[in-house]
């Protein structure tokens, strides 16, 4: 039996070419992902380990345990004396400390680099970093840059760069080297500059050490040295060997690689799923075509089980061969991916490709299992072939399936109904994150509905579009009839394409809707052209995103009640607002700083000269400031108080009003974000304690939506000045261009005004929008490219279906040619059929994608502005047409090339 199977496979090799390609592509994706991710994590590991293992011991100040409601304290850095202690240890031959602070680096245009200044570090004694290019600075005129900083600014060795010292005085340095910090998160985010130790002390005033590195003395193991250092430094230090430190860091970074691996494997899963559909269809068609062959086997005494096993054996062979090829291709792709993608991910030196046995085994197993699994149903069907079928001569009627059972119709419609119900539930019930899961489930159920109703859909749609097509000419008329000959086969081929089409369209709808919504939000609530704010300082960990912990820490250090920390009430809302404003920084954090004025350096504010300079520019119409303060209300509640000098609330700055009228705003009155003060509504009086002991009593004239432009309590400038006289600087400026001013001149005017203040960050609304849509576009194209593979596999499937149908219709094609159909017309007939299939598949996918993209977006963002990216969808449809044409090329050549007399004679 096996011999028959193998002989059959050899004979019909060509029928499996596209199937093999489909499996191959899917497996290639799986193995390629594994190889890429393995190589990437190996090179991460190497880069981290490389720097960490260059020393034997690494000590960092230990993080104090955050206890209860108490705010976590900053770790206490090491002193010079502690380094001397370490040096004195007999187990240690050499030790050094890492001085670390921040310094403002100016780019070629004289503006500060980054929203946060880069780290300024120096190695005092031995350290774990070395220059990858050039050398480390040796005197006060030299500087080395992190390679990431060099890439960002375009500076190279030999250039002269300007750095601001603590007093913001400019000082020039010559770049002597580049240091690859690799993926070390402390330096990869905002970059770093390296000085010699004395210079960094001069520039930043730092005197303490953030890390101590040591080398073991002759005759002592790194572990002994580490233990000794741990003993010398005591409880305030976390001491590990270089290797342990490197491993720990590699592990924490590995998460990133794992996430990427999972994301890529998700796409690989989709590709394999589509490949599965294609394989299923191929085997189903082959079984149908080989009915007589199988019946003959049964006539000669083959048992059902033998027939079943023979088909499965065939699938195992096909699956194994294709998977093996796929694994090879995957290794190639993974290697190429690491070679080109590795540097982008900041892995530094390329390491040799890592091919784990797992990558090979998983690739082989996935491909083979999917193939065999997809062949199960066709194999079962093969066993039902009656021995008598061998004696039947005419196979003409076999191709025509008729009738779609009512069970099919009912269950298909039921699936759609359930899906619609779930979507309605997700939208009405406002489930938030769960809503997305519900919508996904709804989409899957609807997809099942499409699968069940597929044959009916194909027939219906073809009947509809067939009306005009039939009139075009004989080829398209025949194509229309051909495409509905075996609706089930056509439906399966089409559904493979629908999967990819749905996902791409769905994502494009979500992406486009998000973009419109965000742009709209920016325009409505942030109606300014430029925003000017000071550069944030690096020392505060919250500058990244967390508004809440900072709030808590501010409260905690003030020595207020413990409960206050937990009550960081307005935090989340304000934090979110800060995030949408992008460059705006974090209001919560700024308030914290302002509140704490006596103890910590004041929150940076925009210098008054900048305000004056901006106001004096004729191209600029309006300059609005923002000042804020935090107060505690009677019931342990935090209130955020804002004022906007130069702005008319409700006109220049606005939010959606819940109740009241923004026009009533004025001295003695306030606008409040919904729910900000407990139990206070329009017409009520809000009592706010102020710094000078005099309570502010304000009449609330309007309540506005949360998480928009106006948050917390907005008061008039006079009231604010009275209550918080010490807050006299603007933490941010909003600048609006004069009516009709040229955008380029406006830009020049803003930059001229901040010329003498390089640390001022200038954000432009237009640039923000651009950046935002760029990020969305990149994400879209990446995802589209990943899904592209699933689409290619589906097109292979359609091509394969066509090729097998052509094989089945050889005699028919010959007859048509004998009756006078030209070769070109025959090819056109097949093209129209393939394009029709592709269009139906893509069309259904687009419809599903638009519906569920809308549902998914709307369930997460209730105020989403639904946008259909017509351009992208049009491109996609065009691609589908092109894919159809391509899919029909080979089958068409084959059909047109067959000799008429030969085909007519063959039985």
């Amino acid at each position: 039996m096996l011999r028959t199977t193998l002989a059959g496979l050899r004979l019909h090799k060509s029928r499996y070419v596209t199937t093999v390609l489909a499996i191959l592509l899917g497996v290639m994706f799986v193995s390629g992902t594994m190889v890429f991710a393995d190589t990437l994590s190996a090179s991460y590991e190497k880069s981290v380990m490389g720097s960490a293992t260059s020393v034997d011991t690494i000590a960092v100040p230990s993080q104090p345990e955050p206890g209860g409601g108490e705010a976590p304290e900053e770790p206490t850095p090491f002193t010079g004396g502690q380094i001397d202690d370490v040096r004195a240890l007999p187990e240690v031959s050499e030790a050094g400390g890492l001085l670390e602070d921040e310094a403002v680096l100016l780019d070629a245009d004289g503006r500060a680099v980054g929203f946060i200044p880069p780290a300024a570090i120096a190695l005092d004694g031995v350290g774990r970093f070395s220059a990858d290019e050039g050398s480390l600075p040796s005197n006060g005129d030299e500087i080395a840059l992190a390679t990431s900083t060099a890439d960002q600014t375009g500076f190279t060795v030999g250039d002269t760069v300007t750095v601001l010292d603590a007093e913001e005085e400019k000082r020039d340095f010559t770049v002597t080297g580049l240091v690859e910090f690799g993926v070390d998160p402390s330096y990869s985010r905002s970059g770093a500059v390296v000085f010699d130790p004395d210079t960094v002390r001069e520039m930043t005033g730092v005197t303490v050490y953030s890390e101590i590195n040591a080398l073991a003395a002759e005759g002592h193991t790194p572990q002994e040295a580490t233990d000794a250092v741990a003993g010398a430094l005591g409880a305030g230090a976390e001491v590990r060997t270089g290797e342990e430190y490197g491993l720990a860091m590699a592990e924490s970074l590995g998460g990133q690689t794992e996430m990427m691996r999972v994301a890529l494997l998700l796409f690989a899963f989709i590709a394999m799923f589509v490949a599965g559909i294609v394989i299923y269809n191929t085997f189903a068609i082959l079984i149908a075509q080989r009915q007589r062959e199988l019946a003959l086997l049964r006539c000669m005494g083959a048992k059902r089980g033998q027939v079943f096993r023979s088909v499965l054996a065939e699938s195992v062979v096909v699956g194994l061969v294709a998977s093996a090829l796929g694994v090879l291709a995957g290794i190639g792709i993974g290697t190429a991916g690491s070679a080109f993608g590795g540097p982008l991910m900041g892995t530094g030196d390329a390491v040799s490709v890592v091919i784990t046995p797992l990558a090979v085994v998983v690739g082989l197993a996935v491909g083979t299992v999917v193939t065999v699994f997809s062949a199960l149903i066709p194999a079962t069907r093969a066993t039902r072939v009656a021995p008598l079928a061998a004696l039947r001569t005419s196979a003409t009627a076999a191709g025509l399936e008729k009738g779609t059972g009512w069970i099919r119709v009912v269950s298909g419609l039921l699936a759609f109904a359930v899906s619609a119900g779930l979507v309605a539930l997700a939208l009405v019930a406002d489930l938030g994150e769960t809503g997305l899961v519900v919508v996904t489930a709804a989409a899957l159920i609807a997809f099942v509905g499409v699968v069940v109703l597929g044959p009916l859909l194909v027939r219906g749609i073809v009947r509809l579009v067939g009306v005009p097509l039939r009139k075009v000419g004989v080829p398209s008329m025949l194509a229309v009839d051909n495409s509905t000959r075996s609706p089930r086969r056509a439906a399966t081929a089409m559904i493979a394409l629908t999967v990819g089409a749905t996902l791409i369209t769905g994502y494009s709808v979500v992406s486009a809707s998000t973009e419109t919504t965000m742009t709209n939000m920016l325009e409505e609530q942030f109606p300014v052209d430029y925003q000017v704010s000071p550069q944030l300082t690096r020392g505060e960990p919250e500058s990244e995103e967390a508004g809440e912990p900072q709030e808590a820490s501010a409260e905690g250090s003030e020595g207020a009640e413990n409960t206050e920390g937990a009550e960081g009430a307005g935090g989340p809302a304000d934090g979110a607002e800060g995030a949408t404003e992008g460059t705006g920084g974090d209001p919560a954090e700024q308030e914290g700083g302002a509140d704490e004025a006596p103890e910590t350096p004041a929150m940076p504010t925009v210098p008054a000269e900048v305000v004056a300079a901006l106001e004096s520019q004729p191209e600029l119409g309006q300059v609005i400031g923002q000042r804020s303060a935090t107060v505690e209300t009677d019931n342990d509640w935090m209130a955020f108080v804002y004022t906007y000098p130069g702005a008319e609330i409700g006109v220049d700055l606005t939010s959606d009003v819940v109740e009241g009228d923004l026009a009533d705003m004025g001295p003695g009155r306030a606008v409040m974000a919904e729910g900000h003060l407990d139990g206070v509504g329009v017409g009520d009086t809000a009592a706010l304690p102020s710094e000078n002991g005099e309570d502010l009593s304000l009449e609330v004239v309007a309540v506005v939506e949360e998480m928009q432009m106006l948050s917390g309590v907005t008061v008039a400038e006079e009231d604010f000045a009275k209550a918080f006289p010490e807050v006299d600087g603007n933490e941010m400026l909003f600048v609006r261009a004069a009516e009709g001013a040229d955008p380029a001149e406006v830009r020049d005017a803003v930059y001229t005004a901040v010329e003498d203040h390089p640390t001022m960050q200038v954000g432009s609304a237009a640039e923000m929008k651009n950046q935002f849509s760029q990020i969305l576009d990149i994400a879209f194209y990446t995802i589209a490219a990943m899904l592209g593979l699933a689409i290619i596999i589906a097109v292979f499937g359609i091509s394969n279906t066509m090729a097998l149908s052509v094989l089945e219709r050889t005699r028919e094609s010959a007859l048509l040619r004998a009756l006078g159909l030209a070769r070109g017309q025959l090819r056109r007939m097949l093209s129209v059929e393939a394009v029709l299939l592709c269009l139906i598949g893509a069309g259904i996918g687009v419809v599903l994608g638009v519906v569920f993209g809308w549902a998914a977006g709307a369930s997460v963002l209730p105020d989403m502005i639904f946008t259909v990216p017509v351009g992208q969808i049009a491109v996609f449809i065009a691609v589908a047409v092109l894919a159809g044409l391509l899919a029909s090329v080979l089958p068409g050549r084959r059909a047109a090339g067959t000799s008429i007399t030969g085909a007519l004679a063959s039985e």
């Binding site: 005419s394 003409t396 009627a397 191709g399 025509l400 000419g473 004989v474 008329m477 025949l478 009839d481 051909n482 509905t484 000959r485 005699r811 028919e812 007859l815 048509l816 040619r817 004998a818 009756l819 006078g820 159909l821 030209a822 070769r823 017309q825 008429i900 007399t901 007519l904 004679a905 039985e907």
Partner: protein
């Protein structure tokens, strides 16, 4: 069929519709050459119903394929009317088949997804040619398909399917109709019916018909039978009977 006893005027006066001169066809089968046709001269006149007979492998089908422009002879010429078809390119041959030749095959060769009517009209549609409604009605009535026009081939009997094929071949009044074993797959009653249609249309519609067959009974419906052996024309009988044809065939096999 009332006129079947009345013999038509032999159409010798008119020039022949199809003329083949010195046709040879050689197949290379690797080490040896097979001569399917070795110098055939034959002509067919308008309104004549000719049968080509011969034992298996005598080159009957090859001759027909070459005459119909489905296959290209190794040497020799074939004329259809004034057109020499042996020099034509594939595209021209396609047009020639479409506009001037009709075909009837052994195994029905209907398109399964088209109805009987659509199958009959197919060549006209391919050619984007109008259909002579009267002729269509006449032919449909003659072959008795009036009430089967909207049926798919799968719903028709073998005889009915072949009648559809005959109607399709005759509809456009092609200069010549080639029939390749048209009764090969039919029971004798259906077969006789088809053959009578062919004979009638040759007489009544002056349709030139060339039929390849190995069945002496089928050949006896023709006006003339030509015999082929080893790729050569070896004999010819006019107004054949089944017995006469059988006797000639036997003689051929023995020789």
């Amino acid at each position: 069929m009332t006129e079947s006893t009345v013999k038509p005027v032999p159409p010798v006066a008119a020039p022949p519709v199809v003329v083949a001169r010195g046709l040879t066809k050689t197949y290379d089968t690797g080490d040896s050459q097979v001569h399917a046709l070795s110098g055939v001269d034959v002509e067919f006149h308008r309104g004549a119903f000719t049968a080509i007979m011969g034992p298996s492998g005598s080159g009957k089908s090859t001759l027909m394929h070459c005459l119909a422009g489905l296959d290209v002879p190794t040497s020799g010429t074939v004329h259809l009317g004034r057109t020499e078809i042996t020099g034509l390119r594939d595209a021209e041959l396609t047009l020639l088949r479409r506009d001037r030749i009709g075909f009837i095959f052994q195994s029905f060769n209907l398109l399964p997804m088209l109805t009987a009517e659509q199958n009959i009209m197919l060549p006209s549609q391919i050619a984007r040619r109008g259909v002579d409604k009267q002729r269509f009605d006449h032919i449909v009535d003659v072959v008795g398909l009036r009430d089967r026009l909207s049926h798919l081939p799968a719903k028709l009997s073998g005889g009915q399917q072949q009648r559809v094929a005959v109607a399709r071949a005759l509809l456009n009044a092609p200069e010549v109709v080639y029939a390749d074993e048209p009764t090969g797959n039919l029971d004798s009653r259906s077969g006789a019916e088809i053959l009578r249609f062919l004979g009638d249309s040759a007489r009544d519609l002056h349709q030139t018909i060339v039929m390849v067959t190995h069945d002496p009974v089928a050949a006896s419906y023709a006006d003339r039978v030509v015999f082929l052996r080893d790729g050569r024309l070896v004999d010819e009988v006019t107004d054949p009977t089944a017995e006469l044809v059988s006797a000639r065939l036997l003689k051929l096999e023995e020789a």
